[in-house]
């Protein structure tokens, strides 16, 4: 397959994800506008970070009055999973030139990673086609993310309070987490996270979430180990 064909194939495969990407990116724009974040800053978030969950986390903690350090620590913690994707892509893309790996890293998000894993396992593409597929799958998604962040930010401040937008972020986060609760280890991690975050809600903004995240990761890992030892993992 030529790189050009692979690029188009990747772009085509990414289209179903756009259905969820449109409301999600608009929501970020709307919530940012409601929080009083100027348009340039809102767009810079979506273009520079390109990671919805961490963008919402940062916005929420900024509104809660968390310190800059806490905002960064908690939001970056949400993105740690991307290191795992980065490692998993090395066997397929690690031999690409540096500038291509920089571009791939920028485009490394949940959706592109998921698509690439499936595609590379199913088809034996040459390296240039693998790179093109990855960038191709990112292109429609990223354009949607940028454009609809802008749309959301433009309409945001005009939405009346009756729409209860204050609760849009909790709903978005819960909707993101619920389908990921596939195993007992994931469920144990989520329950731990809730319990520890509530118990430590008195800590300065952002710190409780970090403590909860660390505790929950440890619990998830331990439950996984336990299940593995008892032959119940995978």
């Amino acid at each position: 397959m030529t790189p050009r064909a692979a690029f188009l194939r990747g772009a085509g495969h990414s289209l179903p994800f756009i259905i969820i990407m449109v409301p999600f990116s608009m929501l970020f724009g709307v919530v940012a506008a409601e929080a009083g974040l100027p348009l340039a800053e809102t767009l810079a978030f979506s273009v520079m970070v390109v990671a919805g969950a961490s963008q919402f986390t940062a916005l929420q903690l900024m509104q809660d009055g968390a310190s800059v350090f806490m905002v960064l620590a908690a939001s970056l913690a949400v993105n740690l999973r991307l290191a795992m994707y980065s490692a998993a892509l090395v066997p397929y893309l690690g031999a690409a030139p540096l500038w291509q790996r920089v571009l791939i890293a920028y485009c490394n998000v949940d959706q592109t990673y998921t698509l690439a894993q499936v595609e590379y396992a199913r088809r034996d593409h040459p390296l240039p086609a693998r790179v093109a597929y990855f960038i191709g799958s990112a292109t429609p998604l990223f354009l949607t993310w940028f454009v609809f962040t802008w749309v959301g930010a433009a309409v945001g401040a005009q939405i009346p309070d009756a729409f209860a937008l204050d609760f849009a972020v909790p709903i978005a986060f819960l909707a993101m987490v619920a389908p990921a609760l596939r195993t007992a280890a994931h469920k144990a991690a989520a329950v731990t996270s809730v319990a520890v975050a509530l118990a430590f809600a008195w800590l300065p903004s952002g710190l409780g979430v970090i403590v909860a995240g660390l505790a929950a990761m440890a619990v998830g890992a331990q439950v996984e180990l336990w299940l593995e030892r008892h032959g119940k993992w995978r």
Binding site: A53, A58, S75, V78, A83, A105, A164, A175, A197, A212
Partner: protein, 109 residues
Amino acid sequence: MALSTGWIWVIILGLGVGTFLIRFSFLGLIGNRELPPWLLRHLRYTPVAVLPGLVAPLVLWPDATGGTPDTARLLAAAATVLAGYFARSMLWGMLAGIAVLYAGLYLIG
């Protein structure tokens, strides 16, 4: 927003650069080396470990009601989790949550 424009840009740039470095880590700097299994085992749980802890206080003590638990919002949160879990879909989770939230706010007030 209590933060000054300068600090907001520090957060945007810090989060942008930090997130890029996380994404680039193994592809870029460390090369063709395997992640140790114990680390992989922890990283696997980052989204489900961080996000529930972030939302739990927002669900129980919403700002919009001055921190008092609110039936409509609690029901909406439960509906989101149940629909998202059983339909295995973020979209259905969000739709269920929004529907229950508006129905609850309309009926309960």
